[in-house]
Subunit: 517 residues, 2 copies
């Protein structure tokens, strides 16, 4: 058994069943080994951003890691932005980066580069496989490391000769480090705080954004008057009818200031205290209201769900969670607007949907329109590196083939990783992409004002404008093998969305929505 | 004057006239400042690989750097593969990476990451601007550093507050470090070697691949019997009628072994001794023939052209260079093949063309077909990171608006940076892309065999196959605003190519060429 075979067998034995791949010559033995190990599925991406984003989306839904297969330093670079998003999502990923043979590195061949430096920027776990005999153990360690609470990107650098040489040995699974329990005294201290009746904001994140955490949070809020919030960009947020609604903290500092106004205490659970996404001249980076105290119920490495449930037992023993009632907007009519397209989604979202949300400014009104829709998951842009939406939808669809995936995408973000559409077509994935085309980097037009940038004229405007020429996403999608249509009215969007969801395989709808701002 | 204005003014004063940009919020003051500084052109790319590749192509033709504008660590990551290619090409680039405000970094906001680590992997020059007063001096130093012989990527990390604060001062240009002269004794020693009559291979690279270097090399070879070769992947190679033809060293180790067979000495000038692109089981990485001695006439930081001319004066004082005669293939007919499409290009290449060559396996027969075509430049895939061709063509066209640019592209490579087509359309660039579509990663099919990977079956095949679904590059290009057509026969390719070259603005021709191997 060669190293590649031992590696893949170990991955499978450790529960890793999918390898999102964009291989090159140095990974050919890994590719060949796929056929010798049943139960490992290879999924081709045509660029690495599609590969790493898909691995992120897969794990957010599957609850366990996929592997990637990337080609040396440049392949890792191409995949870095979506690995950054995965890092912020605490997504477990076994990130396999092929490298030159050990003895070949000294020759500084054209593709030689410092893979460790780039992988190290992910502040996760990096190991270079140095011998074929150990590659199985390295793989088992990587799978465990990726799942160490709260989850991370574990990078395994695989030299070609370690991969092709004989003498590989599969290794048994290694248990990951579980979330640490929160000390009773910490839970009790927060309970005491809540009982004082002082104004408290309770900010939850991570695993607390799933139903159990939301339910405990809702009970605590209902019993104590604390104002509950979900972190701005949760990796996976459960929503819809029957699920407690907890408002997300806003993207804009101004929104957050409004949301947290009057709070004397901010309790964080499974996340960190709120900070501004960007700095703005003369505005604070720290969004905790002035004079308010921060208390940590559970850090990101701790068992936040158990802590919230214990806290709920202390302060809200008889209180029920307040869940969202089933209700949908009416189907709107007329030309598409930032207001009515979200109503179409709210009215039409299928049961059990997974939303990959990269609608950015176009999606600001979405949460209200979908709160009473059937139960669904929302996967958000955790790290702020655009180009996540299409790949994450792709990976989510592979993790949950029986669930409809809806990718709310924007024109500015779509081009970074557009080739992931092709993977959706190849794998016949049930993904409906609604591409909101406002022909601009609309968020940057807003930000240009918000940062107080003076003197902006025609050159600046041109750098934020996506018309001239207009992008035609119907043609682009069809060119990638995905059936596509264009909607200019709410009726067209509703009709096309219903058909896309009903038919198997991927579809793209280009929704011509004017900018919100 | 704020920091951004001082930075841009300094760039312009130092001769940098174009900034290829994909900005975000932290770069908004830089964007706004563009309108306050005449003579700096902002060119928008819709993904960072398009931006960095364009900066590479621009400088290879302009002979001076462009700037980039990238958005924090993820933007740098997305642009890293083409910066890697630029590094291998010794291309001067002033790589501006925006970052959070200095005081904002401590908050570890979602887009925070280790930019220095990623930029450091480029082994170039990295500086973080720490004060507005110094940003002009930092910019002047970066321009100089980028042009230090033989050229490199100089990364300037620009915090948002350094950019937006007042107190910036433009700085006068700083002279770069010129190429070191080669010692007379070195030139004389090589002359002595050549006079012995022993079999010598003379391998040139870098600046020697332009006409002066080729002319000197040709004279030396004609007078002494040395076998001359150009490095495998030159950044810019002059070719065509009236230019001396020097054969390129092959990509495959087997080719190189054949080319260097019998050489007792390998003299390198402006490049390094030949090494295998990848390692292969049981094959040597070092491609210098066994027992042959290596001699360095000029290292990559030395003035290789002067050294070759001095050497020619010593060993070939009365000898003329052997230049290529004007001759073109006949226009072929019939279904497109790997053999005949290159004849169409050879027969039709316009005068003064710039070829951005990422044809990969489809282009193996190109050099023979174009040797006698009108004088042209070829820009090759210097670092092996695919996704270079379209962006490099884009930048080259901006550097030389009066020259026709021909991008020979392949289906596997095109998808990495396909959005650069949109930039060609927006800037109305005279680029004709011939996209060789063989519906496969054909080079990897070959490499799968060459590395001796065993056990490859259906899963491996699927990872190297680009059909299912077929990519339709006509639709993709049209979706990006580039007129496109499809050619299945040589006659169609010839007709469409002639029209594309004659009409202003970009065109794409999808040439359906079966795999060579």
């Amino acid at each position: 058994m060669n190293g590649a075979q031992a590696l893949i067998r170990t991955l499978v034995d450790s529960g890793v069943e999918v390898c999102f791949s964009n291989p090159g010559t140095s990974e050919m033995h890994f590719v060949a080994a796929l056929d010798t190990v049943p139960n490992m599925r290879g999924v081709l991406g045509l660029a690495e951003g599609a590969v790493t984003g898909a691995a992120d989306g897969y794990a957010r839904i599957a609850g366990k890691p996929a592997a990637t297969l990337l080609h040396l330093g440049p392949g890792l670079g191409n995949g870095l932005a979506n690995l950054h998003n995965a890092r912020r999502a605490h997504t477990p990923i076994v990130n396999v980066v092929g490298d030159h043979a050990t003895y070949h590195k000294a020759y500084d061949a054209p593709l030689e580069s410092d893979i460790e430096a780039v992988a190290g920027s992910l502040t996760g776990w990096v190991r270079r496989c140095s011998s074929t005999a150990d590659v199985g153990a390295d793989a088992a360690a990587a799978v465990a490391a990726s799942q160490d609470a709260p989850g991370r990107v574990a990078t395994l650098i695989l030299p070609a000769d370690v991969s092709w040489s004989d003498g590989g040995q599969p290794c048994a699974p290694v248990p990951p480090r579980r979330a640490k329990p929160v000390a009773d005294t910490t839970v009790k201290a927060v309970a005491e705080l809540l009982r004082t009746g002082e104004p408290v904001a309770l900010l939850i994140g991570g695993a607390a954004c799933r139903e159990r955490g939301l339910r405990a949070t809702s009970r605590i809020a209902a019993a104590t008057g604390a104002k509950p919030f979900v972190e701005t960009f949760p990796a996976r947020l459960e929503r819809g009818a029957g699920v407690p609604v907890v408002e997300r903290l806003g993207y804009l500092a101004e929104q957050v200031a409004h949301q947290l106004e009057g709070s004397r205490h901010v309790v964080v659970a499974g996340t960190r205290p709120p900070v501004s996404f960007f700095a703005y001249p003369g505005k604070a980076s720290d969004l905790v209201p002035e004079g308010a105290q921060v208390h940590t119920l559970a850090g990101v490495e701790e068992d936040v769900v158990a802590a919230l449930e214990e806290l709920a037992e202390l302060v809200a023993p008889g209180t029920e969670a307040v869940v969202s009632q089933a209700h949908r907007p009416e189907l709107p009519t007329g030309a598409l607007t930032p207001q009515n397209w979200v109503q179409v989604i709210g009215a039409s979202l299928p049961d059990g949907a997974i939303i990959s949300d990269e609608a950015n400014t176009s999606g600001l009104l979405l949460p209200g329109a979908t709160a009473g829709a059937p139960r669904h998951d929302v996967l958000t842009l955790t790290g702020g590196a655009i180009g996540q939406g299409i790949p994450v939808a792709t990976g989510a669809a592979i993790a949950a083939p029986d669930r409809p995936v809806v990718n709310l995408e924007s024109d500015g973000s779509a081009l970074y990783t557009i080739s992931a559409l092709w993977t959706q077509a190849r794998e016949n994935l049930n993904v409906t992409t609604v591409l909101l085309n406002n022909r601009a980097y609309a968020i940057l037009r807003m930000e240009l004002q918000r940062v107080g940038a003076e003197g902006s004229g025609p050159k600046a405007k041109e750098l934020l404008d996506l018309s001239g020429p207009d992008l035609d996403f119907v043609k682009i999608a069809e060119g990638m093998g995905v059936p596509a249509s264009r909607a200019a009215t709410a009726e067209e969007l509703a009709q096309q969305f219903a058909r896309a969801v009903a038919e198997p395989g991927p579809h793209l709808i280009e929704a011509m929505v004017p900018p919100l701002l």
